[in-house]
Amino acid sequence: MFIILAILKKLTANTEREAQLISKISKEDEAALSELYQLYQRLLFSLCYSILKNKEDAEEVLQEVFIQVWEKAPYYNRDKGTPYAWLTTMTRNRCIDRIRSKAYKKSQITDHDDNDVILPFIVSNEHDPFSATLAQERTSMVQKVLNLIPDEQRDVLTFAYFEGYSQSEISDKTGIPLGTVKSRMRQGLLKLQQLLEGREDSI
Protein backbone atom coordinates (compact mmCIF):
# COMPACT_ATOMS: atom_id res chain seq x y z
CA MET A 1 0.00 0.00 0.00
CA PHE A 2 2.87 2.34 0.76
CA ILE A 3 4.14 1.93 -2.81
CA ILE A 4 0.77 2.96 -4.19
CA LEU A 5 0.53 6.02 -2.02
CA ALA A 6 4.14 6.96 -2.73
CA ILE A 7 3.64 6.75 -6.49
CA LEU A 8 0.42 8.74 -6.35
CA LYS A 9 2.20 11.33 -4.24
CA LYS A 10 5.10 11.42 -6.68
CA LEU A 11 2.73 11.87 -9.59
CA THR A 12 0.91 14.74 -7.95
CA ALA A 13 3.79 16.43 -6.12
CA ASN A 14 4.83 18.66 -9.00
CA THR A 15 1.65 20.71 -9.11
CA GLU A 16 3.39 23.93 -8.15
CA ARG A 17 6.12 23.52 -10.77
CA GLU A 18 3.59 22.57 -13.44
CA ALA A 19 1.41 25.59 -12.65
CA GLN A 20 4.51 27.76 -13.09
CA LEU A 21 5.19 26.12 -16.43
CA ILE A 22 1.65 26.85 -17.60
CA SER A 23 2.09 30.43 -16.48
CA LYS A 24 5.27 30.67 -18.57
CA ILE A 25 3.52 29.04 -21.53
CA SER A 26 0.87 31.74 -21.28
CA LYS A 27 3.74 34.17 -21.93
CA GLU A 28 4.70 32.18 -25.04
CA ASP A 29 7.65 30.37 -23.49
CA GLU A 30 8.38 27.44 -25.80
CA ALA A 31 10.92 25.90 -23.41
CA ALA A 32 8.22 25.68 -20.74
CA LEU A 33 5.92 23.93 -23.20
CA SER A 34 8.69 21.43 -23.99
CA GLU A 35 9.25 20.78 -20.29
CA LEU A 36 5.56 20.26 -19.64
CA TYR A 37 5.44 17.94 -22.65
CA GLN A 38 8.31 15.86 -21.27
CA LEU A 39 6.58 15.62 -17.91
CA TYR A 40 3.24 14.56 -19.33
CA GLN A 41 3.72 12.92 -22.71
CA ARG A 42 3.87 9.40 -21.31
CA LEU A 43 0.76 9.69 -19.17
CA LEU A 44 -1.29 11.50 -21.83
CA PHE A 45 -0.12 9.32 -24.70
CA SER A 46 -0.94 6.21 -22.65
CA LEU A 47 -4.41 7.62 -22.02
CA CYS A 48 -4.88 8.45 -25.73
CA TYR A 49 -3.74 5.00 -26.78
CA SER A 50 -6.04 3.29 -24.28
CA ILE A 51 -9.03 5.10 -25.71
CA LEU A 52 -8.14 5.22 -29.41
CA LYS A 53 -6.21 1.92 -29.62
CA ASN A 54 -4.17 3.26 -32.52
CA LYS A 55 -0.68 4.77 -32.27
CA GLU A 56 -1.02 7.30 -35.11
CA ASP A 57 -4.36 8.62 -33.83
CA ALA A 58 -3.03 8.74 -30.27
CA GLU A 59 -0.01 10.81 -31.37
CA GLU A 60 -2.20 13.11 -33.42
CA VAL A 61 -4.44 13.81 -30.42
CA LEU A 62 -1.41 14.28 -28.16
CA GLN A 63 -0.13 16.88 -30.61
CA GLU A 64 -3.53 18.62 -30.66
CA VAL A 65 -3.64 18.65 -26.86
CA PHE A 66 -0.31 20.46 -26.52
CA ILE A 67 -1.28 22.95 -29.22
CA GLN A 68 -4.44 23.55 -27.19
CA VAL A 69 -2.31 23.97 -24.06
CA TRP A 70 -0.36 26.67 -25.90
CA GLU A 71 -3.57 28.44 -26.89
CA LYS A 72 -5.46 28.02 -23.62
CA ALA A 73 -2.64 28.54 -21.12
CA PRO A 74 -3.60 32.21 -20.53
CA TYR A 75 -7.06 31.04 -19.44
CA TYR A 76 -5.89 28.24 -17.13
CA ASN A 77 -7.35 28.81 -13.67
CA ARG A 78 -5.70 26.88 -10.90
CA ASP A 79 -8.70 27.29 -8.63
CA LYS A 80 -10.68 25.09 -11.01
CA GLY A 81 -8.23 22.19 -10.96
CA THR A 82 -4.65 21.03 -10.91
CA PRO A 83 -2.55 20.97 -14.08
CA TYR A 84 -2.86 17.17 -13.96
CA ALA A 85 -6.67 17.37 -13.94
CA TRP A 86 -6.68 20.08 -16.62
CA LEU A 87 -4.45 18.08 -18.96
CA THR A 88 -6.03 14.67 -18.47
CA THR A 89 -9.57 16.03 -18.83
CA MET A 90 -8.63 17.91 -21.99
CA THR A 91 -6.97 14.79 -23.41
CA ARG A 92 -9.83 12.43 -22.63
CA ASN A 93 -12.41 14.86 -24.05
CA ARG A 94 -10.48 15.11 -27.31
CA CYS A 95 -10.16 11.33 -27.56
CA ILE A 96 -13.86 10.75 -26.85
CA ASP A 97 -14.81 13.43 -29.38
CA ARG A 98 -12.65 11.67 -31.93
CA ILE A 99 -14.09 8.18 -31.39
CA ARG A 100 -17.57 9.67 -31.54
CA SER A 101 -16.95 11.30 -34.90
CA LYS A 102 -18.35 9.35 -37.80
CA ALA A 103 -15.26 9.90 -39.90
CA TYR A 104 -13.15 8.20 -37.27
CA LYS A 105 -15.51 5.26 -37.01
CA LYS A 106 -15.44 4.77 -40.76
CA SER A 107 -11.65 4.78 -40.73
CA GLN A 108 -11.57 1.81 -38.39
CA ILE A 109 -11.29 -1.35 -40.44
CA THR A 110 -12.11 -3.71 -37.60
CA ASP A 111 -14.09 -3.11 -34.50
CA HIS A 112 -12.63 -4.11 -31.19
CA ASP A 113 -14.36 -6.82 -29.22
CA ASP A 114 -16.90 -5.18 -26.94
CA ASN A 115 -16.50 -7.91 -24.39
CA ASP A 116 -12.76 -7.50 -24.18
CA VAL A 117 -12.56 -4.68 -21.71
CA ILE A 118 -9.57 -5.90 -19.74
CA LEU A 119 -6.77 -3.45 -20.39
CA PRO A 120 -3.50 -4.82 -21.68
CA PHE A 121 -0.65 -3.79 -19.41
CA ILE A 122 2.39 -2.92 -21.42
CA VAL A 123 5.62 -1.68 -19.91
CA SER A 124 7.41 0.62 -22.28
CA ASN A 125 11.05 0.32 -23.25
CA GLU A 126 12.39 2.84 -20.81
CA HIS A 127 15.88 4.27 -21.01
CA ASP A 128 15.80 6.18 -17.74
CA PRO A 129 16.20 3.67 -14.88
CA PHE A 130 14.07 5.73 -12.49
CA SER A 131 11.29 6.12 -15.04
CA ALA A 132 11.52 2.43 -15.83
CA THR A 133 11.13 1.56 -12.17
CA LEU A 134 8.30 4.03 -11.77
CA ALA A 135 6.52 2.68 -14.85
CA GLN A 136 6.91 -0.90 -13.68
CA GLU A 137 5.74 -0.05 -10.19
CA ARG A 138 2.82 1.86 -11.61
CA THR A 139 1.87 -1.10 -13.76
CA SER A 140 2.17 -3.37 -10.79
CA MET A 141 0.13 -0.96 -8.67
CA VAL A 142 -2.58 -0.70 -11.28
CA GLN A 143 -2.84 -4.45 -11.60
CA LYS A 144 -3.07 -4.84 -7.85
CA VAL A 145 -5.76 -2.23 -7.53
CA LEU A 146 -7.71 -3.43 -10.55
CA ASN A 147 -7.59 -7.02 -9.39
CA LEU A 148 -9.32 -5.96 -6.21
CA ILE A 149 -12.24 -4.40 -8.04
CA PRO A 150 -14.85 -7.03 -8.95
CA ASP A 151 -14.85 -7.84 -12.69
CA GLU A 152 -18.36 -6.62 -13.36
CA GLN A 153 -17.66 -3.24 -11.72
CA ARG A 154 -14.28 -2.85 -13.42
CA ASP A 155 -15.81 -3.61 -16.83
CA VAL A 156 -18.45 -0.89 -16.40
CA LEU A 157 -15.85 1.68 -15.29
CA THR A 158 -13.63 0.79 -18.24
CA PHE A 159 -16.49 0.94 -20.74
CA ALA A 160 -17.38 4.42 -19.46
CA TYR A 161 -13.96 6.00 -19.00
CA PHE A 162 -11.83 4.37 -21.68
CA GLU A 163 -14.50 3.57 -24.27
CA GLY A 164 -16.65 6.67 -23.75
CA TYR A 165 -19.91 4.73 -23.58
CA SER A 166 -22.89 6.20 -21.78
CA GLN A 167 -24.70 4.10 -19.21
CA SER A 168 -27.52 3.40 -21.69
CA GLU A 169 -25.00 2.28 -24.31
CA ILE A 170 -23.30 -0.04 -21.84
CA SER A 171 -26.69 -1.48 -21.00
CA ASP A 172 -27.53 -1.91 -24.71
CA LYS A 173 -24.18 -3.48 -25.54
CA THR A 174 -23.95 -5.89 -22.64
CA GLY A 175 -27.63 -6.65 -22.07
CA ILE A 176 -27.19 -5.67 -18.42
CA PRO A 177 -30.22 -3.70 -17.13
CA LEU A 178 -29.60 0.04 -16.93
CA GLY A 179 -30.21 0.09 -13.19
CA THR A 180 -27.56 -2.57 -12.69
CA VAL A 181 -25.08 -0.63 -14.86
CA LYS A 182 -25.60 2.47 -12.71
CA SER A 183 -25.27 0.52 -9.53
CA ARG A 184 -22.05 -1.20 -10.67
CA MET A 185 -20.56 2.11 -11.79
CA ARG A 186 -21.22 3.58 -8.36
CA GLN A 187 -19.90 0.53 -6.53
CA GLY A 188 -16.79 0.36 -8.73
CA LEU A 189 -15.91 3.99 -8.15
CA LEU A 190 -16.47 3.69 -4.40
CA LYS A 191 -14.32 0.56 -4.34
CA LEU A 192 -11.56 2.37 -6.21
CA GLN A 193 -11.85 5.29 -3.80
CA GLN A 194 -11.60 2.90 -0.88
CA LEU A 195 -8.50 1.23 -2.37
CA LEU A 196 -6.77 4.49 -3.13
CA GLU A 197 -7.45 5.81 0.34
CA GLY A 198 -5.63 2.79 1.72
CA ARG A 199 -8.58 1.45 3.61
CA GLU A 200 -8.07 -1.92 1.95
CA ASP A 201 -5.63 -3.89 4.08
CA SER A 202 -5.16 -6.67 1.58
CA ILE A 203 -3.14 -4.67 -0.95
Binding site: L8, A160, Y161, P177, M185
Partner: protein, 284 residues
Protein backbone atom coordinates in the same frame (compact mmCIF):
# COMPACT_ATOMS: atom_id res chain seq x y z
CA UNK B 1 -38.12 6.10 -0.22
CA UNK B 2 -35.54 5.10 2.39
CA UNK B 3 -32.52 7.29 3.07
CA UNK B 4 -30.23 4.46 1.92
CA UNK B 5 -31.91 4.35 -1.51
CA UNK B 6 -31.70 8.15 -1.77
CA UNK B 7 -28.07 7.99 -0.76
CA UNK B 8 -27.31 5.31 -3.38
CA UNK B 9 -29.11 7.32 -6.03
CA UNK B 10 -27.06 10.43 -5.19
CA UNK B 11 -23.85 8.42 -5.45
CA UNK B 12 -24.97 6.95 -8.79
CA UNK B 13 -25.51 10.48 -10.11
CA UNK B 14 -22.09 11.55 -8.82
CA UNK B 15 -20.40 8.52 -10.39
CA UNK B 16 -21.98 9.16 -13.80
CA UNK B 17 -21.11 12.87 -13.59
CA UNK B 18 -17.45 12.48 -12.66
CA UNK B 19 -16.96 9.82 -15.33
CA UNK B 20 -18.42 12.21 -17.92
CA UNK B 21 -21.31 9.92 -18.88
CA UNK B 22 -24.22 11.59 -17.08
CA UNK B 23 -27.18 12.45 -19.25
CA UNK B 24 -28.78 15.89 -19.21
CA UNK B 25 -31.63 14.87 -16.91
CA UNK B 26 -29.14 13.33 -14.50
CA UNK B 27 -27.01 16.47 -14.46
CA UNK B 28 -30.14 18.49 -13.65
CA UNK B 29 -31.08 16.03 -10.92
CA UNK B 30 -27.60 16.28 -9.44
CA UNK B 31 -27.72 20.08 -9.54
CA UNK B 32 -31.01 19.97 -7.60
CA UNK B 33 -29.47 17.63 -5.04
CA UNK B 34 -26.63 20.08 -4.55
CA UNK B 35 -28.81 23.17 -4.29
CA UNK B 36 -28.99 22.68 -0.52
CA UNK B 37 -25.16 23.04 -0.39
CA UNK B 38 -25.15 20.08 2.00
CA UNK B 39 -21.45 19.82 3.02
CA UNK B 40 -21.62 16.03 3.17
CA UNK B 41 -22.95 15.77 -0.39
CA UNK B 42 -20.45 18.28 -1.69
CA UNK B 43 -17.65 16.37 0.00
CA UNK B 44 -18.79 13.06 -1.49
CA UNK B 45 -18.98 14.54 -5.00
CA UNK B 46 -15.56 16.06 -4.56
CA UNK B 47 -14.12 12.77 -3.31
CA UNK B 48 -15.55 10.86 -6.27
CA UNK B 49 -14.18 13.49 -8.62
CA UNK B 50 -10.74 13.05 -7.09
CA UNK B 51 -11.01 9.28 -7.43
CA UNK B 52 -12.03 9.48 -11.09
CA UNK B 53 -9.02 11.68 -11.75
CA UNK B 54 -6.82 8.67 -10.98
CA UNK B 55 -8.30 6.66 -13.84
CA UNK B 56 -5.75 7.90 -16.45
CA UNK B 57 -3.10 6.16 -14.35
CA UNK B 58 -4.81 2.89 -15.22
CA UNK B 59 -3.82 3.16 -18.86
CA UNK B 60 -0.96 0.98 -20.09
CA UNK B 61 2.34 2.86 -19.98
CA UNK B 62 3.56 3.88 -23.42
CA UNK B 63 5.74 6.62 -24.88
CA UNK B 64 4.88 8.74 -27.90
CA UNK B 65 7.43 8.81 -30.70
CA UNK B 66 10.12 11.50 -30.80
CA UNK B 67 8.43 13.27 -33.71
CA UNK B 68 5.48 14.60 -31.74
CA UNK B 69 7.18 17.40 -29.79
CA UNK B 70 8.91 18.92 -32.86
CA UNK B 71 5.54 18.90 -34.66
CA UNK B 72 3.92 20.68 -31.71
CA UNK B 73 6.66 23.31 -31.63
CA UNK B 74 6.39 23.80 -35.38
CA UNK B 75 2.60 24.21 -35.18
CA UNK B 76 2.62 26.79 -32.41
CA UNK B 77 4.88 29.09 -34.43
CA UNK B 78 1.98 29.77 -36.75
CA UNK B 79 -0.34 30.56 -33.82
CA UNK B 80 -0.44 34.18 -32.87
CA UNK B 81 -2.33 35.00 -29.77
CA UNK B 82 -4.64 37.96 -29.85
CA UNK B 83 -3.05 39.69 -26.89
CA UNK B 84 0.16 41.49 -27.78
CA UNK B 85 2.45 43.36 -25.38
CA UNK B 86 1.64 47.05 -25.27
CA UNK B 87 4.62 49.04 -26.60
CA UNK B 88 5.87 51.65 -24.12
CA UNK B 89 7.82 54.50 -25.68
CA UNK B 90 10.91 55.68 -23.85
CA UNK B 91 10.77 59.09 -22.11
CA UNK B 92 14.55 59.49 -22.21
CA UNK B 93 14.68 59.75 -25.96
CA UNK B 94 17.36 62.36 -26.73
CA UNK B 95 16.01 63.03 -30.21
CA UNK B 96 12.88 64.79 -29.03
CA UNK B 97 12.02 68.03 -30.76
CA UNK B 98 10.74 71.48 -29.76
CA UNK B 99 9.52 72.14 -26.20
CA UNK B 100 9.75 68.45 -25.23
CA UNK B 101 13.49 68.41 -25.82
CA UNK B 102 14.08 71.67 -23.96
CA UNK B 103 12.00 70.88 -20.84
CA UNK B 104 13.95 70.79 -17.55
CA UNK B 105 14.88 67.20 -16.71
CA UNK B 106 14.61 67.56 -12.90
CA UNK B 107 10.86 68.37 -12.77
CA UNK B 108 8.05 66.28 -14.13
CA UNK B 109 5.96 68.38 -16.52
CA UNK B 110 2.31 68.84 -15.55
CA UNK B 111 1.04 67.28 -18.78
CA UNK B 112 3.03 64.13 -17.93
CA UNK B 113 1.50 63.99 -14.44
CA UNK B 114 -1.96 64.33 -15.97
CA UNK B 115 -1.12 61.64 -18.49
CA UNK B 116 0.06 59.36 -15.67
CA UNK B 117 -3.20 59.87 -13.76
CA UNK B 118 -5.16 59.26 -16.95
CA UNK B 119 -3.14 56.12 -17.62
CA UNK B 120 -3.73 54.86 -14.08
CA UNK B 121 -7.49 55.44 -14.33
CA UNK B 122 -7.54 53.74 -17.73
CA UNK B 123 -5.60 50.79 -16.31
CA UNK B 124 -8.10 50.41 -13.47
CA UNK B 125 -11.01 50.53 -15.89
CA UNK B 126 -9.34 48.01 -18.16
CA UNK B 127 -8.60 45.73 -15.20
CA UNK B 128 -12.27 45.91 -14.19
CA UNK B 129 -13.38 45.15 -17.75
CA UNK B 130 -10.87 42.30 -18.00
CA UNK B 131 -12.25 40.74 -14.81
CA UNK B 132 -15.77 40.93 -16.17
CA UNK B 133 -14.61 39.55 -19.47
CA UNK B 134 -12.90 36.64 -17.74
CA UNK B 135 -16.11 35.85 -15.88
CA UNK B 136 -17.99 35.98 -19.15
CA UNK B 137 -15.44 33.64 -20.75
CA UNK B 138 -15.86 31.23 -17.82
CA UNK B 139 -19.63 31.31 -18.24
CA UNK B 140 -19.37 30.76 -21.99
CA UNK B 141 -16.94 27.88 -21.48
CA UNK B 142 -19.48 26.26 -19.16
CA UNK B 143 -22.20 26.75 -21.76
CA UNK B 144 -19.97 25.25 -24.46
CA UNK B 145 -19.15 22.28 -22.23
CA UNK B 146 -22.84 21.67 -21.53
CA UNK B 147 -23.62 21.90 -25.21
CA UNK B 148 -20.78 19.51 -25.99
CA UNK B 149 -22.27 17.00 -23.53
CA UNK B 150 -25.70 17.50 -25.06
CA UNK B 151 -24.29 16.97 -28.54
CA UNK B 152 -22.57 13.77 -27.44
CA UNK B 153 -25.83 12.62 -25.94
CA UNK B 154 -27.71 13.34 -29.18
CA UNK B 155 -25.04 11.59 -31.25
CA UNK B 156 -25.39 8.55 -29.03
CA UNK B 157 -29.16 8.56 -29.49
CA UNK B 158 -28.86 8.84 -33.25
CA UNK B 159 -26.38 5.97 -33.37
CA UNK B 160 -28.67 3.78 -31.26
CA UNK B 161 -31.65 4.70 -33.47
CA UNK B 162 -29.63 3.81 -36.58
CA UNK B 163 -28.85 0.40 -35.14
CA UNK B 164 -32.52 -0.15 -34.34
CA UNK B 165 -33.45 0.85 -37.88
CA UNK B 166 -30.95 -1.63 -39.29
CA UNK B 167 -32.78 -4.44 -37.49
CA UNK B 168 -36.26 -3.32 -38.48
CA UNK B 169 -35.64 -2.32 -42.08
CA UNK B 170 -33.82 -5.42 -43.36
CA UNK B 171 -35.17 -6.99 -46.57
CA UNK B 172 -36.41 -10.11 -44.72
CA UNK B 173 -36.91 -8.61 -41.26
CA UNK B 174 -40.00 -9.69 -39.35
CA UNK B 175 -41.31 -9.53 -35.82
CA UNK B 176 -43.05 -11.75 -33.31
CA UNK B 177 -45.63 -10.00 -31.16
CA UNK B 178 -46.36 -10.66 -27.49
CA UNK B 179 -49.63 -9.84 -25.73
CA UNK B 180 -50.11 -8.82 -22.11
CA UNK B 181 -51.33 -11.45 -19.66
CA UNK B 182 -53.16 -11.09 -16.34
CA UNK B 183 -50.60 -9.11 -14.34
CA UNK B 184 -50.51 -6.50 -17.09
CA UNK B 185 -53.18 -7.09 -19.75
CA UNK B 186 -52.53 -3.71 -21.39
CA UNK B 187 -48.89 -4.49 -22.06
CA UNK B 188 -47.41 -5.68 -25.31
CA UNK B 189 -44.04 -6.49 -26.80
CA UNK B 190 -42.39 -7.25 -30.12
CA UNK B 191 -39.17 -8.98 -31.05
CA UNK B 192 -37.87 -7.68 -34.36
CA UNK B 193 -35.47 -10.01 -36.12
CA UNK B 194 -33.21 -9.49 -39.11
CA UNK B 195 -32.22 -12.97 -40.43
CA UNK B 196 -29.45 -11.52 -42.62
CA UNK B 197 -27.56 -9.90 -39.76
CA UNK B 198 -28.96 -12.15 -36.99
CA UNK B 199 -29.67 -8.95 -35.07
CA UNK B 200 -32.66 -8.79 -32.75
CA UNK B 201 -34.45 -5.93 -31.05
CA UNK B 202 -37.03 -6.08 -28.26
CA UNK B 203 -39.79 -3.48 -27.96
CA UNK B 204 -41.72 -3.30 -24.71
CA UNK B 205 -44.73 -1.15 -23.87
CA UNK B 206 -47.16 -0.98 -20.97
CA UNK B 207 -45.30 -3.16 -18.47
CA UNK B 208 -45.17 -1.78 -14.91
CA UNK B 209 -41.86 -0.55 -13.51
CA UNK B 210 -40.08 -3.56 -12.03
CA UNK B 211 -39.18 -3.53 -8.31
CA UNK B 212 -35.51 -2.77 -7.64
CA UNK B 213 -34.81 -6.36 -6.56
CA UNK B 214 -36.35 -7.86 -9.71
CA UNK B 215 -35.72 -7.86 -13.47
CA UNK B 216 -37.89 -8.79 -16.38
CA UNK B 217 -36.53 -11.79 -18.29
CA UNK B 218 -37.19 -12.68 -21.93
CA UNK B 219 -37.56 -16.34 -22.83
CA UNK B 220 -37.51 -18.16 -26.15
CA UNK B 221 -39.31 -21.50 -25.93
CA UNK B 222 -38.22 -24.13 -28.44
CA UNK B 223 -39.31 -27.79 -28.26
CA UNK B 224 -40.95 -26.95 -24.95
CA UNK B 225 -37.67 -25.79 -23.36
CA UNK B 226 -37.41 -22.14 -22.23
CA UNK B 227 -34.06 -20.50 -22.98
CA UNK B 228 -33.16 -17.12 -21.50
CA UNK B 229 -32.67 -14.36 -24.07
CA UNK B 230 -31.72 -11.62 -21.60
CA UNK B 231 -32.94 -9.46 -18.74
CA UNK B 232 -34.16 -5.87 -18.78
CA UNK B 233 -35.74 -3.19 -16.61
CA UNK B 234 -38.71 -0.95 -17.28
CA UNK B 235 -38.26 2.67 -16.27
CA UNK B 236 -41.33 4.21 -17.94
CA UNK B 237 -44.51 2.14 -18.34
CA UNK B 238 -46.18 4.75 -20.56
CA UNK B 239 -43.76 4.73 -23.47
CA UNK B 240 -42.06 2.16 -25.63
CA UNK B 241 -38.64 0.99 -24.59
CA UNK B 242 -36.23 -0.79 -26.93
CA UNK B 243 -33.50 -3.25 -26.04
CA UNK B 244 -30.89 -4.71 -28.33
CA UNK B 245 -30.47 -8.45 -27.97
CA UNK B 246 -26.78 -8.84 -28.78
CA UNK B 247 -26.61 -12.50 -27.89
CA UNK B 248 -29.94 -13.67 -29.25
CA UNK B 249 -30.22 -17.39 -28.69
CA UNK B 250 -32.10 -18.55 -31.74
CA UNK B 251 -30.97 -18.28 -35.36
CA UNK B 252 -34.54 -18.60 -36.68
CA UNK B 253 -37.15 -16.85 -34.57
CA UNK B 254 -39.96 -18.05 -36.85
CA UNK B 255 -39.32 -21.66 -35.84
CA UNK B 256 -39.65 -21.27 -32.05
CA UNK B 257 -42.72 -22.42 -30.12
CA UNK B 258 -43.25 -19.18 -28.22
CA UNK B 259 -41.62 -16.14 -26.67
CA UNK B 260 -42.47 -14.84 -23.21
CA UNK B 261 -41.51 -12.30 -20.55
CA UNK B 262 -41.55 -13.14 -16.83
CA UNK B 263 -40.62 -11.18 -13.71
CA UNK B 264 -37.64 -12.80 -11.97
CA UNK B 265 -35.24 -12.02 -9.11
CA UNK B 266 -32.55 -9.42 -10.00
CA UNK B 267 -30.01 -10.85 -12.43
CA UNK B 268 -32.41 -13.42 -13.91
CA UNK B 269 -32.95 -17.15 -13.38
CA UNK B 270 -31.87 -20.25 -15.37
CA UNK B 271 -35.54 -21.28 -15.66
CA UNK B 272 -38.69 -19.11 -15.39
CA UNK B 273 -40.06 -18.95 -11.84
CA UNK B 274 -42.10 -15.73 -11.67
CA UNK B 275 -45.34 -14.40 -13.09
CA UNK B 276 -45.63 -14.32 -16.87
CA UNK B 277 -46.41 -10.83 -18.17
CA UNK B 278 -46.20 -11.28 -21.94
CA UNK B 279 -46.61 -14.24 -24.28
CA UNK B 280 -46.53 -14.58 -28.06
CA UNK B 281 -46.09 -17.16 -30.80
CA UNK B 282 -44.63 -16.68 -34.28
CA UNK B 283 -47.87 -17.82 -35.88
CA UNK B 284 -50.14 -15.45 -33.94
Amino acid sequence: MSSQILNDRFEELCAAYVLGVAEKAEIEELKKELESRDPDKLARLSEMHRTAQHLPLFAPTLDASDQVLPKVLESIKSIKREKQPIPISSTSDSKKSGSEASAPSTQTPSWLRAAAVLLMVSTLILAYLATNLNQEVDTLETVVENQRLELMNLQQRVEVAERYLDVISGRNSYFVGMDGLDPSPGGFGRIFFNPETQAALLQINGLPVNPSDKDYQLWVIRDGVPISAGIFSVADPDSSQYFELPRFVDSDLAQVDAVAVTLEPEGGMPQPTGDMFLLGTPSS
